[in-house]
Symmetry: C2
Subunit: 268 residues, 2 copies
């Protein structure tokens, strides 16, 4: 590949959710340099039109392309669902999404082949998980549920401060009595609500986040292209947010266990 091995990997998300993918990358690919953009100023993407999500996603990708990335990870399910093909056709570097890895992980762990997908309105409407799962295993039954309240709960920090059990219960009520063994967190913000979601689901249900599977794909593609970083030293990620720095720094420190994270403001 005519791309420098030591170039950074770009990660984009509508806000802080994609940090779940960064966390796995820091653990499994510590030698890779990461540049993250969270579009907190325009978050959430879930209720937005396809055209808006495509445009915002392309703006972030262009900013990272200008910074010389060797690979782009779209760590946002809504953006993956609507913008992946455009990005792949536009840029010379590989572009990885989070939906296919999540669908694969869920298919692997679901013995009864009955899977719930929780996601934003945009992701659920796209039916991207249904398509990805049926490509892996046609006989799997998928129950999609849009949870429009969840991203604002995370981005506002409300999930840490107030009792969100009533809103969790109400949102997840439609699937409470369904027969399923696996639930996909089809939005990278949802792992921050993991315990709250688990509490509302029948016991024995396995919760799957795509972060881990996505990072396996990142590693495999770096290998296939011969562009893994060959300088063995731990790199500190750089974070850009289009929103306010305060909450972003707090979540980054808390979630990624980084002291003094390098968080910068970005205007798109």
């Amino acid at each position: 590949m005519n791309i420098s091995n030591n170039a950074p990997i770009g990660v984009i998300d509508s806000g802080v959710g994609g940090l779940t993918v960064v966390k796995e990358m820091m653990s499994f690919l510590p030698e890779e340099k990461i540049i993250y953009i969270g579009d907190d100023a325009r978050c959430p993407y879930g209720p937005r039109s396809v055209e808006e999500v495509k445009r915002f996603t392309m703006e972030m990708a262009l900013a990272l392309s200008d910074m010389g990335i060797k690979m782009l990870v779209v760590a946002c399910n809504t953006a993956t669902a609507v913008a992946l093909d455009d990005l792949r056709n536009r840029f010379p570097f590989p572009v990885l999404g989070v939906i296919e890895p999540g669908a694969r992980a869920a298919s692997q762990v679901s013995p009864t082949r009955r899977i719930v997908v929780l996601g934003t309105v945009g992701t659920i409407k796209s039916r991207a998980y249904e398509h990805a799962i049926s490509a892996i295993s046609a006989e799997t039954v998928v129950y999609p549920l849009a949870c429009p309240e969840f991203v604002p709960l995370v981005e506002s920090g409300q999930y840490k401060q107030t009792d969100i059990r009533p809103i969790m219960k109400k949102t997840l009520e439609p699937i409470a009595h369904l027969d399923f063994d696996t639930a996909i967190l089809g939005c990278t913000h949802y792992p921050l609500l993991h315990n709250h979601i688990q509490e509302q689901l029948p016991s024995g249900v396995t919760i799957v986040s795509s972060a881990n599977e996505t990072v396996k794909d990142v590693k495999r593609t770096l290998s296939e292209l011969g562009i893994a970083n060959n300088l063995v030293e731990h790199k500190k990620p750089i974070f850009y947010t289009t929103g306010g720095l305060g909450e972003f720094i707090e979540i980054t420190s808390d979630w990624l266990k980084i002291e003094n994270p390098d968080v910068r403001h970005l205007i798109l």
Copy 2:
């Protein structure tokens, strides 16, 4: 990716074994154009030195690079085990091997996590399957067995003409009383001996070939790079062999069900 979507995919093997991968590609990626090189003149690679296998593999890859391929599939376990990193560092296109996909497939289907790997002396010596499997699941027990007689049985066509049961029984004797549930055909020639191998293994053992998993990786990487072929028409593969045309044409017609396969001679 700065590579034409309509460029061919190169597939290389020490002989005819890699046709098992071509067969899966023709089925799952019918719109992709395939150029295959089988190094039948210098087959088998299994007993050769690492330096020889690296040199022969690089010669095939260079020939395909000159033909303008967009991706290289090393459909030979021996070559994958010793030459993959060199190829990935040398060429701008993605280079995929067959070992990691095979290890992954076996790990997925083995409930007791006890796996036999059958391969050439070169592949078994490299311990490449042990490394790949332990990276996926550290607690899996791997029993490797070198089967140096198998490739000559296939390349000579002897497996179709004579009773090879005695040689199969003798080769597989060392694993006959081991406790395992899955066997990896760790050489792309071995699927042609599938029924003979099955006959010698305890009933209930699952036989895994890496061809199917490898083609899933091919598809995923084409997507990630945005280089899948966008002309929807079935392409007829082109086959080069460094050896004689007769036997190669016969196996290609028989194995791939292609009438009048386009087989050409190549001097390396």
